[in-house]
């Protein structure tokens, strides 16, 4: 009886160690992507870091309930989206004040564009286009922005976006269509 109890404890300890190792590898693999999505959504490095920490803390607490029906990244992205939503809902006024103070200017975001093989003129043009896209994204609704960023920054499949946001694929397509139309209009208007 005692031997069985000791064996059970050892088995439980081993299972916990395995789960901890699995979670650590998930964090190492997906943390940059979660941070990138939150940074693109909030445009605030500090806020994105805080929300990323919260996301993984929440994920760690619920790791045992993760059944692998979707990929770990989709699951994490869903947590991140919900955290971001909660943040916006709870601190709507403060958020905008905070964002105005801490968010980088649109110009600065476009400054990160790799120069590549382009000429100076092409680089300037590309930066201007990025600035216009950023401005258009900033004007999107929360849901449209989330869908747009997941699609065109994180390069997610529509089905994955639908799972991460909890929307149907049709709704995702509709939001994406409106978002792209807005970006297109912004680019077209500046031509």
């Amino acid at each position: 009886m005692a031997a069985a109890t000791v064996l059970e404890r050892m088995t439980m300890a081993t299972a916990e160690e395995i789960a901890a190792e699995e979670f650590a590898s998930v964090v190492a693999r997906h943390r940059p992507q979660i941070f990138r999505f939150l940074l693109a959504s909030t445009r605030d490095v500090d806020l994105a870091e805080t929300l990323t920490q919260d996301c993984f803390l929440k994920a760690h607490r619920n790791w045992s309930s993760f059944r692998g029906e979707s990929s770990a990244l989709t699951w994490l992205m869903r947590i991140a989206i919900n955290l971001q939503k909660d943040h916006w809902r709870n601190r709507r006024m403060q958020f905008w004040r905070h964002t105005q103070n801490n968010a980088v200017a649109l110009d600065e975001a476009s400054e990160w564009l790799p120069s590549g093989e382009r000429s100076v003129e092409q680089q300037l043009l590309a930066k201007e286009r990025v600035r216009q896209v950023s401005k258009a994204v900033q004007g999107l609704s929360e849901r449209q922005r989330t869908v747009f960023l997941l699609r065109y920054v994180e390069e997610a499949e529509l089905s994955e976006i639908a799972r991460a946001t909890g929307l149907s694929e049709g709704t995702v397509k509709a939001h994406l269509s409106r978002a792209v139309a807005r970006v297109r209009a912004e680019l077209g208007g500046k031509r």
């Binding site: 896209v133 699609r151 065109y152």
Partner: protein, 142 residues
């Protein structure tokens, strides 16, 4: 999420618009570069130190309060003990005085009683014997 050509979505057809396609690609590249730079930026430990300092301050304040409260309570207790001892001493003195007064009163009562008995006994001498008694008194006088 699988990395793939995101512009293959026929619903959006952004690939038909090469300018939009380029703009979205550049937007993605700039966000990735920005995110990588922000993610790998050196972080200071200032934020981690502040809560520690706050905790130390809080613990110091709490210990100080405990010491002050302890010292004050010990002082009050000692003062209270002294008052009790003083009261006990005063009560003992009062009791002693009361007993002494009682004893004195008792002695006085005894003397009065004896005097009364003497007078009573002397009154019991018959009237007829009074001349003899007078003589005895006279004999006793030098």
């Amino acid at each position: 999420m699988i990395f793939k050509d995101k512009f293959a979505d026929n619903m959006q057809n952004p690939e038909q618009d090469s300018e939009l396609n380029d703009a979205l690609t550049n937007f993605r590249l700039s966000v990735h570069a920005w995110s990588d730079a922000a993610f790998n930026r050196p972080r200071t430990a200032v934020a981690a130190l502040q809560p520690r300092r706050i905790w130390r301050l809080a613990v110091g304040c709490a210990l100080g309060c405990v010491l002050v409260a302890g010292g004050a309570s010990v002082g009050l207790w000692q003062h209270h003990q002294r008052e009790i001892e003083l009261r006990i001493t005063q009560a003992r003195i009062a009791e002693h005085q009361r007993l002494a007064a009682q004893q004195q009163a008792q002695q006085l009562e005894d003397e009065d009683l004896l005097a009364k008995v003497d007078s009573d006994v002397s009154r019991e001498v018959p009237i007829a014997m009074e001349p003899l008694a007078q003589l005895m008194v006279d004999d006793e006088t030098p």
